[in-house]
């Protein structure tokens, strides 16, 4: 870092006449630093509001009188920097360069000096003296941030005034400091950031080329830095200012050194870091220490993975042990009674009407109702993990684990984002440069068990395996992870050839979860799920009822049975009869439909669905059914995302085909293995 005082040459402060003339003050700062409050306190009723000439951005100005001295204050638009990225930034810098206020008062948020001082670093390059008002010091103090105004003042070389504008503390003082600077009564010898050494020479060359042609009043060093930064406006204007041969040389230099921006902006951040290190104290809070300590376990490649698997197991155990009984109660009382009541009310109605309403619509709606406890407990657990800060460690842990076993995880960030949803995972794969590797990653992303699939798993597993649901669900998730690791291994060896995907993750501090936040999270999610899933489940339920009720008397003679039987030769490999096959196929529209389809096809006749299924399906077939449903074609949105990212129907079909083939392969392997282990007998 090079940030020597006066490196760009001291800016001359014009001599002031003895009489106290009115001073023009520009009020600058990033958004949300309390600029409006300070402006209102200073100008009161004198404030006038208009627009900046030729712009739609509001211009506010007014008069202030402090200690008998009059000030004209102009409130500049809130900006993060003075690069021509936005209208506000252009207005702020044009005002400073063209209207030349006597002083700039820049406000900063005491708790976020790292963010706020970037604007100061840019202001110091312009030929106007600056006073820094550090606002909201009370809020910063409450957050444990202490800053020493004297140290900061000495380090920056300009007046620094601590403020609490909301209590009118420091407001008059900041204007008094502005007057002292403008009158030359206080020194203004700022330490300015300078371009880093890597491009210092290039800067000198550009400076030498532009200096003779920059319009009077515009600092040539500022123009040269802005050119190296790639500032669009300065670049365009330079083309007009410079003669063609000088512009051609500048243009060539800029083209060759397009990365110079890193050394211009980077040096400013080095400068900020130095200032903040000197003047700001951020005590290590207990939470940070706890986070560090806990992360030694939670993000450890081995222990972290063990913890992750334990957390998965705990979520399922909690879901089943708390929600299971409530779900059973709902099924046996609310749903069964509603069904009996509706059937009684429709006793005189035609059989088809009674059937479609009671066994189709109500059965579907009943399934939705019995979803509620499972969903609620599942989302409570997820909300807890998110609110404590643990959830963001999951992808990180898997990445560390991959590193530990020799994989470099080129595809694993996109893959593991898929734990939430496959769609962003597919889209995330666009960071992979090589097209074959990217396509392969897209193809494999839908293998990640998304939260919708985990939910279906949470609902189905206790129906098939009521004795030890948590163990089975956990085992299926672990098996899915093993499949992913194998996929990663293949990708790493054959597609990426051990390339790395460089990334960083931000992990929040751990903190005590807020029960209210978690409850709201769970309730909102359950409600959204119900709204979105209920309609499709009820409609699909009615369609399935029609297809299993016609044309024959018995379900085995139905259209659906006929269709399902055509696929039975394939299903037989996995122990799936036509009923389980069509339940699986119905999940193509939405994963949750598999549950409703099972309810209608198996027709519980007063018994709980779990009891009926346990009697009709062997454990081996149930296990194969769950595996097939975990690996089966992903949801429509994921298929659409695959199409969007690959821009090819062929690759989209290939992705869908791969999932289907995997479901068949693993379903068959699991079923045949389970039969060999003696799980092919009746009753799960």
């Amino acid at each position: 870092m090079n940030a020597n005082p006066q490196t760009l040459g001291p800016l001359p402060v014009p001599p002031r006449p003895a009489e106290a003339r009115r001073l023009v003050v520009g009020l600058a700062g990033q958004p949300n630093v309390g600029k409006s409050t300070v402006f209102s306190i200073l100008t009161g009723l004198s404030a006038e509001v208009g627009n900046w000439p030729g712009r739609t951005v509001e211009r506010r100005e007014g008069s202030a009188r402090i200690n008998g001295r009059e000030f004209h204050v102009i409130d500049l638009p809130g900006t993060y920097s003075l690069t021509s990225n936005s209208e506000e930034e252009r207005i702020a810098r044009e005002f400073i360069l063209n209207e030349r206020p006597d002083v700039i008062v820049m406000l900063a948020d005491a708790a976020a000096l790292e963010r706020n001082l970037y604007l100061l670093a840019e202001l110091l390059l312009l030929p106007i003296p600056v006073v820094l008002g550090v606002n909201m010091v009370d809020v910063a103090r409450r957050e444990g941030v202490e800053f020493d105004a004297h140290v900061l003042e000495a380090a920056l070389g300009l007046p620094v005034v601590p403020m609490v504008a909301s209590r009118n503390e420091g407001v008059a003082e900041v204007l008094a400091a502005a007057a002292a600077i403008a009158d030359g009564e206080r020194p203004f010898a700022p330490d300015r950031p300078e371009i880093a050494s890597a491009h210092r020479e290039v800067y000198e060359l550009v400076h030498a080329l532009v200096a003779p042609f920059v319009p009077a009043g515009l600092p040539a060093d500022w123009a040269a830095l802005k050119l190296l930064e790639g500032d669009r406006e300065v670049t365009e204007k330079s083309r007009q200012w410079l003669p063609p041969d000088a512009w051609a040389s500048v243009h060539e230099l800029l083209r060759e050194h397009e990365d110079a921006v890193l050394d211009v902006a980077g040096a400013r951040y080095e400068w900020i870091g130095r200032m903040v290190r000197a003047a700001v104290r951020r005590p290590r809070l207990g939470q940070i220490s706890f986070t560090d300590r806990f992360d030694r376990v939670a993000t450890h490649p081995g222990w972290g993975l063990a913890l992750l698997l334990a957390v998965f197991g705990m979520v399922f155990w909690l879901t089943f042990s708390v929600a299971g009984p409530v779900q059973g109660w709902l099924e046996e009382t609310v749903v069964a009674r509603a069904s009996a009541g509706l059937a009684g009310a429709l006793a005189g109605a035609p059989a088809w009407l009674s059937g479609i309403l009671v066994d189709g619509m109500l059965a579907g709606a009943g399934i939705v109702v019995t979803f509620v406890p499972i969903l609620f407990v599942f989302f409570l657990a997820l909300g807890f993990l998110e609110d404590t800060g643990y959830q963001s460690r999951m992808a990180y842990v898997m990445d560390r684990f991959m590193h530990r076993i020799g994989l470099h995880g080129k595809s694993f960030l996109p893959l593991f984002l898929g734990f939430g949803c496959n769609v962003p995972a597919v889209m995330g794969s666009r960071v992979i440069e090589s097209r074959p590797a990217r396509l392969l990653t897209i193809m494999l992303t839908p293998f990640v068990p998304c939260s919708a699939r985990l939910l279906v798993l949470a609902f189905l597993v206790p129906l098939f395996f009521p004795a030890f649901p948590a163990l089975v669900a956990w085992g299926l998730v672990v098996a899915n992870l093993v499949v992913l690791v194998l996929i990663g291994l293949l990708l790493d060896r054959f597609a990426f050839r051990r390339e790395r995907l460089a990334f960083i993750m931000e992990m929040p501090l751990y903190h005590v979860p807020n029960p209210r936040t978690i409850l709201i999270f769970a309730a909102t999610n359950v409600w959204t799920f119900m709204k979105r899933a209920a309609t499709i489940i009820v409609v699909v339920s009615m369609i399935i009822w029609l297809l299993v009720s016609y044309p024959g008397e018995h379900v085995n003679d139905s259209y659906l049975a006929g269709f399902g039987r055509m696929l039975e030769p394939v299903g037989a490999l996995m122990g799936l009869d036509w009923r389980l096959i069509v339940a699986t196929l119905s999940a193509f529209v939405a994963k949750e439909n598999a549950i409703a389809a099972l309810g209608i096809i198996f027709g519980t006749e007063g018994e709980a669905l779990g009891t009926t299924l346990a009697a009709a399906i062997t454990p081996a077939a149930a296990l194969a059914f769950l595996v097939v449903n975990m690996l089966f074609v992903p949801c429509v949105a994921t298929v659409a995302a695959v199409r969007q990212e690959t821009r090819s129907w062929g690759w989209t079909a290939a992705s869908t085909g791969l999932m289907l083939a995997s479901a068949l392969l693993f379903g068959t392997l699991v079923y045949q293995g389970a039969v060999l282990l003696g799980l092919g007998g009746a009753g799960a």
């Binding site: 980077g266 998110e386 984002l417 769609v423 995330g428 992990m507």
Partner: protein, 84 residues
């Protein structure tokens, strides 16, 4: 500072912003600001955006990847600059 962050990320030695802060001897607050700057300049790209594609999914609010993990990856310009 920006160059140091890009180079450190590109080397793959760090996986989290906390590790990055330690590696370049900067405060976590400083790293946060610098990462935002690199993202603004198109040298880092936030991972896990799904646009409107998740809009119809019943599980959408629960699986916002940004809530699960904020992650940034080098863009092609970022990789190019990091290599310089």
């Amino acid at each position: 500072m920006l160059r140091k962050v890009l180079a450190t990320v590109a080397e793959g030695r760090v996986g989290s912003t906390a590790e990055l802060a330690a590696a370049i001897d900067a405060s976590p607050a400083m790293v946060e600001v610098v990462v935002a700057e690199l993202e603004r300049r198109g040298l880092l790209q936030r991972a896990g955006e799904c646009g409107t594609a998740c809009g119809g999914c019943p599980s959408e609010p629960a699986c916002d990847p940004r809530a699960q993990a904020s992650a940034w990856m080098l863009t092609s310009a970022g990789r190019r600059y990091a290599g310089n």
